[in-house]
């Protein structure tokens, strides 16, 4: 097995995973960068390294072997997914049914603690109501 090629391919894959991991880590604290330049560079570098290793290994001696191909394939898959997600970040503003000056449309739902919640309970109180995506 071409050790150098394997090391390069594995490193490329690792770079992609580190980029993903550190990027996802910004989500819980709400500090996702608007333009994740560093992450983009790391993803591209990782993918390029892994693919180059596989191609080089193939060029110098036939089949690069599973050890080189597998990390390269995963690096490309994971890296591409990162860019795909980035390309889909724009939300369609949609058809918001309320506007400033409207009275809050009443509703009733369950809370995470169990009991029911009705918007009547907000009467006399100032409220910041946030709609968020939840788990995805």
């Amino acid at each position: 097995m071409n050790t150098v090629a394997f090391a390069a391919s594995a490193t490329g894959f690792l770079a992609v995973m580190v980029a993903w991991g550190t990027y996802l880590a910004t989500i819980p604290s709400g500090k996702v960068p608007a333009r994740p330049v560093g992450w983009i560079i790391l993803q591209l570098a990782g993918m390029a390294t892994a693919v180059s290793a596989a191609v080089w290994s193939f060029r110098i001696g036939g089949s690069p072997g599973v050890a080189v191909i597998v990390p390269a394939v995963f690096a490309v898959m994971m890296g591409s997914t990162f860019f795909y997600f980035l390309s889909q970040r724009k939300t369609p503003i949609g058809k918001l049914r309320v506007k400033v000056g409207d009275t809050l449309p009443p509703f009733e739902v369950k809370t995470s603690d169990g009991p029911e919640f009705h918007t009547d309970s907000l009467a006399g109180k100032r409220t910041l109501l946030k709609f968020f995506r939840g788990g995805w």
Partner: protein
């Protein structure tokens, strides 16, 4: 930001399509003090017109090595468009904020500015 909101007497309520269990986990995991509302059937989300039909999420179950996902499969789910409404004590909406990049939270500064503008 919680302290600033408290100063103006504003309570924080957040709603998503998460089930009660998912919301409870989220609250514990992120140590949240606000009230989390569960709208898994998307009734309220639709009522307010903040439904995002083909929002991008991902399935992690596909390939895992010791629980670490090796491949993230994109999948489309229906979720809420992140929207913030500031409501006064009479139930009148004073300010609305919608992001066009779902990864980014409503800027705290902008929210606080709106709170101050509405309630001072």
């Amino acid at each position: 930001m919680q302290a600033d909101l408290d100063e103006h007497g504003v309570s924080l309520v957040a709603l998503s399509k998460d089930t009660v269990e998912e919301a409870a986990t989220h609250k514990t995991r992120d140590n949240l003090r606000l009230t989390l509302l569960s709208d898994p059937d998307l009734d309220v989300i639709r009522q307010y017109g903040v439904e995002h039909h083909k929002a991008l999420g991902f399935k992690t179950g596909s390939f895992t090595l010791f629980g670490i996902p090796l491949a993230l499969t994109p999948s489309f789910k229906t979720m809420a468009i992140p929207t913030t409404l500031l409501v006064d004590e009479d139930g009148v909406i004073q300010w609305i904020d919608q992001t066009d990049d779902y990864r980014l939270r409503s800027s705290e500064d902008r929210v606080l500015q709106a709170v101050k503008a509405a309630f001072t």
